[in-house]
Subunit: 410 residues, 2 copies
């Protein structure tokens, strides 16, 4: 099959697709408390310092550190207790030499204090006096103003997916609203004269639509919105008009084509008719998913995926997921956890082609085993049985049993 | 500090907590297309076989395999083409010996056919005749009825979090609705006289509420709902009445206590007053988070977390996350990816205590480095700067620079 030699590797195909896409979507302002998983469109800067006042990190006595120098169990320093710091209020007193004040974790240091001695390192015989049993250094047990964040500091970069910690950080700064990328809308069209909606009982020769729902779920997991345009008949005009509507209403479009050569060509013709430059990549050197079509129409990605559900989902992970991330403006700084396992069996692959093999993970005495879920690629439950995918790179003719492989989760 | 010796390790504390909790929440029926990330409450069985009819996996000719035996490029088999299988319909003809039919990927095999020869392995000189250039075995290039799923087969186990593949599998079976665990409601109360809501400008000595939002986000990420009960004054009656209301309205309650010893004791007294058995664990041998309180009140978990935001979020990962998973009935079969890295510096730890250290991950020529984000534990942005957490186990007195550590993502 000489056509394989002309097909692009998935990574090159993706590079070509992304090169034709604009940077990312515009932002929208949302409530910080609803922003988990959203992606910042601009760096977030602190509009105030944190902490905003000097705070103690322990329960004890606010002191002037110099008053404790030389103190020990055998030779305590005696300090006068001039008050107690009330939580949530500024102290109404300041410390003169040889004075201290009772303070609770998180409390504000009074003027004159520069350290806190833990209550465990003191003794108290009289209510207005405390014995300090060890010295503290200036700044000890104290959070200084701006020690977490200084005024104007960039606290969250652009293109950053918000986790619980960032949500909390924004709240600490009083930033109860945040600018994030709008959720990309991805239109999904299923074609195939044999495909019926899932709620319908298929007749002889018919199957239910799966791809609309797996792709919408994949997009949702990445932080986008899957918009279904239903099952479209394998006819040029029907596909063209529905795809044009999807393109107008969405930020990217995926067409899962019927599997036969004629409907794949139909998809390519439709993409070419929708806008410039049209089809960029027709066929990718990957299994499953060789008939993949990548196009851009007037700045929006339009992707033709194979009709069979396993190919469609695996290939969507290679091309649709990166498009959603690009639209979100995600800066891929965060390192992703990986699962390593020993391959349970030999896997053959055609040189020059990249293969993605669904595997189950099995705990064994010698470590984790990745056991391929063999099955023809139309079997959606072969994916539901899999824990992840193993990649056989294009330059390999296979992988040997026992080799350590990375398992990409699905 | 002898109290450390009596404190439970986090794993033992969690075991004690979970032992007092009921199995899981009841289920609810939801639309399959909205069920991404939800957890099944019962095994899902196939109400039909998949495929429901014999299908071809390639474009070519449906044949009786025996008619091709012995065929080769030099000695082709000649078969009569009796028709074309229309997609989405049962063939209106059947095959007699020496007959074949044009068929497209996904098409239904006609009666009499038991294999498909790929179009690439045929030649056609006349429209009603095809030359078969190689033999195919019975079943070749054919999906048999039930090859993916048989009638009655368990296709998704109980306690399974639904991914895109399972959503697709359910749709293939026509199961457009699915029974999943109700979303656990977790009530969150923040206490501390110094704490004000985030939208408020803090006065001297005051700080904004962070914990309500980090904990709600953590619970949301696991598939639950965080329900805020606001900032509660450090008074027995106010805390008790609000906690009682949260307990009545939610499936579990978290109280982030002011950091001082007196407000921690208040939390314990409130938990004991809310139901039986009350406080189970008072203090855990972990840093940060020693003052953690674990209780169960009439079958619902009530957890008292330290007030400082870093401790609260780290400790919530150890105790709140497992409670949410228990409520969801999640069966932990799926293996989680991990990040391994070389520790960048020596880390000391007290023997007998488990430590959790926020780290940044840095790519270096010698591999991934885990570099601790040092900072006093009140600094929420120290967590926002971290890629994950490194655990120092209780039996270690520290970890050495260069050691390989697992980094738990946050």
């Amino acid at each position: 099959m000489p056509e394989f030699l002309e097909l692009l590797a998935p990574s090159e195909a993706l590079t070509r697709l992304l090169a034709h896409l604009p940077a990312s979507l515009e932002g929208e302002e949302v409530e910080t408390q609803s922003a988990l998983g959203r992606v910042t469109v601009a760096p977030v800067r602190a509009m105030q310092a944190l902490p905003a006042f000097p705070r103690t990190t322990v329960d004890g006595y606010a002191v002037r550190a110099a008053d404790t120098f030389g103190a020990s169990e055998s030779l305590p320093a005696y300090l006068q207790v001039v008050g107690e710091v009330i939580m949530g209020a500024a102290p109404v007193f300041s410390l003169s030499p040889a004075q201290c004040a009772l303070i609770h974790t998180g409390g504000m240091l009074p003027d004159g204090a520069d350290a806190v001695i833990m209550v465990e390192h003191t003794q108290s015989a009289r209510p207005d006096e405390v014995e300090v049993l060890r010295a503290v250094a200036p700044g000890e047990n104290v959070l200084k103003v701006g020690e977490d964040v200084t005024l104007g500091q960039e606290v969250i970069p652009r293109g950053w997916r918000l986790r619980p910690a960032e949500i909390g950080g924004l709240m600490a700064l009083g930033q109860t609203r945040v600018w994030v990328a709008r959720k990309p809308r991805l239109g999904v069209l299923s074609t195939g004269d044999e495909v019926v909606p899932p709620e319908q009982e298929p007749g002889p020769g018919q199957v239910r639509d799966v791809n609309t729902y797996t792709l919408a779920a994949l997009v949702q997991a990445e932080g986008g919105l899957g918009v279904s345009y239903g099952v479209i008949p394998d006819q040029m005009e029907a596909l063209r008009s529905n795809a044009a509507r999807a393109l107008a209403e969405c930020d990217a479009v995926v067409i899962t084509a019927g599997s036969s050569a004629s409907t794949r060509d139909l998809t390519a013709r439709v993409i070419d008719s929708l806008g410039k430059p049209g089809v960029l990549v027709h066929g990718v050197n990957v299994r499953p998913g060789k008939p993949t079509i990548l196009g851009v129409c007037d700045g929006k990605a339009v992707i033709g995926l194979p009709g069979n559900p396993v190919s469609a989902l695996v290939i969507a992970g290679l091309f649709v997921t990166p498009v959603v991330r690009r639209l979100l403006g995600l800066v891929e700084e965060r390192l992703r956890p990986i699962l390593q396992a020993h391959l349970a069996v030999n896997l053959a692959s055609q040189a020059g082609r990249e293969d993605w093999i669904p595997v189950r993970l099995i705990q064994s005495p010698s470590g984790l085993l990745a056991d391929p879920v063999f099955g023809k690629s139309n079997l959606i439950f072969s994916l539901a049985r899999a824990d992840g995918l193993v990649r056989i790179p294009p330059d390999a003719t296979g992988l040997a049993a026992g080799e350590i492989v990375e398992v990409t989760s699905m």
